[in-house]
């Protein structure tokens, strides 16, 4: 009986397994081959084994470390901002949403818009001739910062990302907040607990697991950012908005350094794997 199931399970799993193998299996072998070889678009079919040379090239590349540092800062800052804003919005608006749930639909619109499209929209609204933001800033305070200048571009992309993805954090916190049993709040209120104290002493600790999950997901998404930055400013003035993803993309398509970009992708994969494993181990331990 057990053996029969074993075969049947394998059959049932085969579509997924074959699909993954076909689309990802071969590329994995390919990337390992190229990662350790001397390759360009001209010598695609005859990669020459070069050991760790590509990895040495990557780690010696200042731009690689700048990209890593950019992604790390970008992921951290946006994750913290989004979660702080999302949490505040969720808790404050929860009574309103209880009565009018359509409010949520309006707040999640930014998430349904493609990040690439959002980047393009920012190009429009920040444009000094056609954009409403410089227009209103000029007419109200008489000046408008150069949003995409080397000095300001980092803040600009941070704000754009934060405003698009705060709704995600908001949604997670809203669900967590709504699932706190009403009796707990009532009991606390009967005991004379004030709202502020109720939040910090009771509700917030109950939402801590959600906070970890939200920060983690938003960090991962921020770290791997590509679409919106790429469509808004590309790699930015002087490469100042080169995220890890943009670095690998440009090394590959613009410069055709296949081996080097593969090596960078492998390094990125390994670090993502380590971070994921550690985070999930921590989450499991915390939930125990």
């Amino acid at each position: 009986m057990v053996k029969k199931y074993k075969l049947e399970n394998a059959v049932l799993a085969s579509p997924t397994s074959l699909f993954l193998l076909a689309i990802l299996g071969f590329p994995v072998i390919l990337s390992l081959t190229y990662g350790f070889s001397e390759t360009s678009f001209e010598t695609l079919r005859s990669p020459e084994f070069s050991g760790l040379q590509n990895f040495r090239d990557v780690t010696a590349d200042k731009t690689f470390w700048q990209a890593a540092w950019f992604s790390l800062r970008f992921g951290t800052i946006t994750a913290v901002l989004e979660c702080a804003l999302g949490l505040a919005l969720a808790v404050y608006l929860a009574p309103l949403i209880q009565k009018h749930s359509w409010v949520v639909a309006i707040l999640i619109i930014p998430m349904i818009v493609a990040p690439a499209m959002m980047g393009l929209m920012y190009r429009l609204i920040l444009n000094e001739f056609a954009g409403p933001i410089p227009y209103y800033l000029y007419s109200w305070i008489g000046s408008s910062p150069a949003f995409l200048s080397p000095k300001n571009v980092f803040t600009t992309v941070i704000l754009a990302e934060t405003l698009q993805w705060t709704p995600f954090a908001f949604l997670l916190f809203l669900t967590a907040y709504q699932s706190i049993p009403q009796e707990i709040r009532e009991a606390a209120t009967v005991d004379g607990t004030r709202p502020w104290r109720l939040f910090w002493k009771i509700e917030f600790p109950l939402m801590l697991p959600t906070l970890f999950v939200a920060v983690f997901i938003r960090f991962i998404d921020g770290f791997r950012v590509f679409d919106n930055i790429y469509t808004l400013v590309g790699s930015g003035p002087g490469g100042s908005t080169t995220s890890m993803s943009i670095y690998i993309f440009e090394t590959f398509l613009r410069r055709g350094e296949i081996g080097k970009s593969m090596a960078a992708a492998i390094l990125l994969f390994v670090s993502a794997f380590v971070v994921l494993s550690v985070a999930q181990w921590l989450l499991r331990r915390a939930s125990r």
């Binding site: 399970n9 493609a114 690439a116 190009r123 949604l171 990125l268």
Partner: protein, 275 residues
């Protein structure tokens, strides 16, 4: 416990306005005529016109919106449906027999958290070899990989919520596994399948990186095509036209998402919490 609602409305309106500002401004710009765009950057439209949309929808050889829309539609349909077909038979033994719960399930689910660029380059090289570069099928296949993790999770959740009794009754009638899955489990999963489809379609439609890397002319999706309107050579960007393109590109997922927002929000949260 009485709480005042009034100030909450104000906070909601401000938050909604700020977060949706790019979308609102783009919609406003799309309805301004070519003269007004340069004279009046405010949100107020002096003389609303559909001129920009007419310009966009008039076929031109170089920037053909119909092609972009068709490419996006085909690729997004493949990207949304294929993972459902392959994941459904796997989700059932995962729930009922604990099959693959220790390795296969976490491995697939974690795919979601990896930077897509890691796959993009080797897939580019593989596609170049097998001739899938710049094809709707090629783009659809990789979008299916992107959607696979969440699809599997949502189907696993859905099957876990089904009552066992129905399956047991079907077994008593002598149904084999294949029949049981197709005749009993699949119809019961319909609500989850719809949610999964909508979510997968929106994700696939909105994808940009693979569209950018894997297509050049024949299979360019709408997200990438829209960016072409910003890269016009000489004379600068025609903002009204560009805004109209963005409206057209953003509308399908926006409408789907707003109609189905309850299901969408539910699956977003489910995907986050179980991951």
């Amino acid at each position: 416990m009485k709480r005042r609602i009034g100030p909450r409305w104000i906070v909601f309106i401000i938050a909604a306005f700020v977060m949706n500002f790019p979308v609102i401004a783009t919609f406003a710009t799309a309805f301004k005529g070519p003269r007004e765009v340069n004279l009046n950057p405010s949100l107020w439209i002096e003389a609303p016109t559909l001129e920009n949309f007419a310009t966009v929808l008039t076929i031109s050889d170089r920037l053909n919106v119909y092609d972009y829309l068709w490419n996006s539609l085909v690729a997004a349909l493949i990207g949304a449906i294929l993972p459902m077909i392959v994941a459904f038979p796997l989700a059932w033994p995962m729930v009922r027999r604990g099959y693959g719960r220790s390795i296969l399930f976490p491995a697939i689910v974690n795919l979601r958290a990896l930077p897509l660029i890691i796959f993009a380059i080797p897939i580019y090289l593989m596609y170049a070899t097998v001739g899938l570069l710049d094809t709707r099928l090629g783009l659809g296949l990789i979008l299916a990989i992107v959607n696979l993790p969440l699809t599997l999770m949502l189907l696993v959740n859905a099957i876990a919520d089904l009552p066992l009794e129905l399956e047991e009754a079907a077994r008593m009638d002598g149904a084999r596994t294949g029949r049981l899955l197709l005749r009993v489990v699949l119809p019961l999963c319909r609500p989850a399948l719809i949610t999964t489809f909508v979510f997968g379609f929106i994700t696939a439609w909105n994808e940009f990186l693979f569209g950018l890397m894997l297509t050049t002319s024949d299979a360019v999706p709408m997200t990438v095509g829209a960016s072409f309107f910003f890269a016009t050579s000489g004379g600068g960007v025609q903002w009204g036209v560009a805004a109209a393109v963005m409206v057209i590109a953003a509308l399908p997922p926006l409408l789907l998402g707003l109609i189905m927002y309850r299901r969408i929000t539910g699956s977003m949260v489910a995907g986050a919490v179980k991951g």
